[in-house]
């Protein structure tokens, strides 16, 4: 065998391994100029143009800049979770940023580590649970909006199979699937929610492929917990419906999107930055609700029936004034066993540890 061929085969194998091993990494650090402004930095897991998770945070940042002109912001996009993020956060802290928002679950430990080294910088971590003297965490009670969007899906489906493209089997995603399913079954007890895991947050082709598989399997409404609009595009391509997430996804698939469960971070970012400037900042675990307007539902598509809209509005009102709590018993799990007794409500701690599916979900949680 020729020598070059051996070399090229070795190179081929090495390259294949390299490519599977490390995903794309991109960084963009806009260096803030030296001014008297308060410097605030944001670390994003995806590109701001993702039309989803990171886009929603960036909309919040823009709102902050609009409301507080004396604030200067820096963003770093597409930062992989893990060691890389620790490097990026350290760099931002040493560049003189006073507040750093780290907006992905996997940034939790890196954020805590860096915070120890920079006691004068305030860190706010999104979607985690750890706090420190200068670290707070925040998230939205997305399950409330998920429940409402479930009502829309449950009314819209004709096949009674609703597909759900899910990212990773973590409590946040499981909680969302459960709340959505309970919304679906509150109006359509015969419907099932079929879950497919992609194990990605941001891979449009893969997430679209998962949605197509669900549509092939008989689903006629596709919900999702991803950072892209791939599932929406699949639904539009097949002439079926979908429920968006993170931001209003209707512009990406106007014929398919019934509504979207959305985050609205802006007002909260203003509140945090304001408290730091006034010196009243306290590290806390903030879990914003629909009442606080941190989460909500995007406008309905034209295909949503009026009586569906009415049902959703009623439920929304009840959630806001506290009459309706999504995870109140009796709640059965997939095997039909009652996990939450009638009259009981799940505590925040229980909801943050969700590791089982409610009745009506068709899928498994990898351990």
């Amino acid at each position: 065998m020729k020598k070059w061929f051996k070399v090229s085969l070795a190179a081929l194998a090495a390259a294949a391994l390299l490519i599977t091993g490390c995903g794309g990494e991109k960084k963009k650090a806009e260096k803030p100029a030296e001014t008297g402004k308060t410097k605030v930095a944001f670390v994003y897991v995806g590109p701001v143009g993702d039309g989803g998770w990171s886009y929603a945070h960036d909309q919040g940042r823009k709102y902050l800049m609009e409301k507080m002109p004396d604030v200067e912001t820096t963003i770093v996009e597409s930062v992989p979770e893990g060691a890389d993020s620790e490097r990026v956060i350290t760099q931002l802290a040493s560049q003189g940023n006073k507040i750093i928002f780290t907006t992905s679950f996997g940034y939790m430990d890196p954020t805590i580590n860096v915070a120890k080294k920079f006691p004068n910088v305030v860190f706010m971590h999104c979607s985690g649970f750890k706090t420190a003297p200068n670290v707070g965490n925040y998230f939205g009670r997305m399950y409330e909006a998920r429940y409402l969007s479930g009502i829309v899906a449950g009314k819209q489906t004709q096949s009674n199979v609703i597909g759900y493209v899910a990212a990773h089997p973590i409590p946040e995603v499981i909680r969302g699937i459960n709340a959505f399913t309970m919304g679906v079954r509150s109006v359509n007890p015969n419907a099932k929610v079929k879950v497919l895991w992609t194990n990605t947050w941001y891979d449009p082709a893969k997430e679209k492929q998962a949605a197509i598989t669900l549509l092939d399997g008989g689903a006629d409404v596709i919900a999702q917990h991803q950072d892209t609009t791939g599932p929406q595009q699949a639904a539009q391509e097949r002439g079926k419906f979908s429920i968006g997430y993170n931001t209003d996804m209707a512009p990406m698939a106007p014929k398919a999107v019934l509504t979207s469960a959305v985050f609205n971070w802006g007002p909260y970012y203003v509140k945090v930055v304001d408290s730091v400037k006034k010196g009243t900042f306290k590290p806390e675990s903030y879990w914003g609700s629909m009442k606080d307007e941190v989460i909500g539902l995007a406008p309905f598509g034209p295909m949503v029936a009026d009586d569906t809209k009415k049902l959703v509005e009623e439920a929304k009102k009840k959630i806001i004034d506290g009459q309706l709590f999504v995870f109140s018993g009796p709640i059965k799990d997939q095997s039909g066993q009652v996990r939450i007794q009638a009259g009981q409500k799940m505590s925040d701690a229980e909801m943050l540890k969700f590791d089982w599916f409610v009745e009506g979900v068709d899928g498994t949680i990898a351990k």
Partner: protein, 310 residues
């Protein structure tokens, strides 16, 4: 999902997912038949994907994007041709450099395009009556136009290679360029032509990803498909029809994961994601073992041709 519907869904998904690999593999096959090994497929695909996307966004016309993608792939290949044919540089080194270059440059160029929609992506267009044939219809004839073009290209290439005089010359280029030269075949210019043609096909494969399959741009979105294509050419023993079978097989493995989840087979997603790459290595080992370590590769593949030394 019934068993029948499941099989149809898997086969259709195999073709959708296999098409970008097919284009890239056919491109590499043409270049290698001409005696030039080009390991830059991954880089050329990425450049095709990003340039195609930029072209489609700028003009709103995906066909224009496709032309840009082929241009970008062709230009990348031209660089490789100049280095390896004219300057007689090491083909492995030049190809690897091309991949690194293409990966970096495409990431840089595409930065502003992440998350943008394609104005008019290549949509699914069922092929009239053919699409109504049971089983075969939904598997073969309910795709976008680029998939259909892939079928045609395989047949054309097979006919060209084995049934035409020019195809014979192409094979001679890779087997024994000195003999071809003596016959009066223009070795240098034809090698240039086929390497560039190969690059254009790789670019087309990339554009399929960004304009039809995803359709969106994402850094490194080829995810190793270029390397799989290079390996596939060996697996196919430089035959376009075998390359087609191989591409769809890889596509099928790619698509299989979701279907296994769908019917509730408890396999780790991480394992499934690894499969296409593990399969690539296995195939290379098996093909090499079966050939007794000696491949029926084009005789002069990877060897620079020097007129003075014949």
């Amino acid at each position: 999902m019934t068993d029948g519907a499941l099989v149809v869904s898997i086969l259709a998904a195999a073709i959708t997912a296999g098409t970008p690999i097919l284009y890239a593999a056919l491109g590499e096959l043409v270049a290698e038949r001409a005696g030039i090994l080009n390991l830059g497929v991954e880089g050329m695909m990425l450049m095709g994907a990003v340039c195609g996307f930029m072209g489609a966004v700028a003009t709103g016309d995906s066909w224009f994007g496709l032309a840009m993608a082929m241009l970008a792939g062709g230009l990348m290949a031209l660089l490789h041709a100049f280095l390896t044919i004219t300057l007689r540089a090491n083909q492995v080194v030049s190809g690897l450099a091309l991949t690194l270059f293409g990966t970096g440059l495409s990431g840089y160029l595409g930065k502003a395009y992440i998350g943008m929609p394609v104005p008019k992506p290549f949509a699914v267009e069922p092929l009239g009556l053919l699409a109504n044939i049971p089983v075969l219809g939904p598997v073969l004839f309910k795709h976008n136009v680029l998939v259909y073009f892939g079928y045609v290209l395989v047949l054309l290439l097979w006919f060209f290679l084995y049934r035409t005089r020019q195809g014979l010359f192409l094979r001679a280029l890779g087997e024994n360029p000195a003999a071809a030269d003596a016959m009066g075949i223009k070795v240098f210019s034809l090698r240039y032509l086929y390497v560039v043609l190969g690059g254009m096909l790789a670019g087309l494969g990339g554009a399929y990803l960004s304009l039809a399959y995803a359709p969106s741009w994402l850094e490194n979105m080829t995810a190793g498909r270029g390397w799989i294509a290079v390996a596939l050419v060996v697996f196919a023993l430089w035959n376009p029809v075998r390359a087609l079978a191989g591409s769809y097989l890889f596509g099928g493995i790619d698509a299989l994961g979701f279907h296994l989840q769908m019917i509730g087979v408890p396999i780790s997603v991480f394992f499934l994601n690894m499969l296409p790459y593990v399969f690539t290595i296995l195939v290379l080992v098996i093909v090499l073992a079966r050939q007794g370590g000696r491949l029926t590769s084009p005789g002069a593949l990877g060897v620079p041709y020097n007129r003075e030394e014949r």
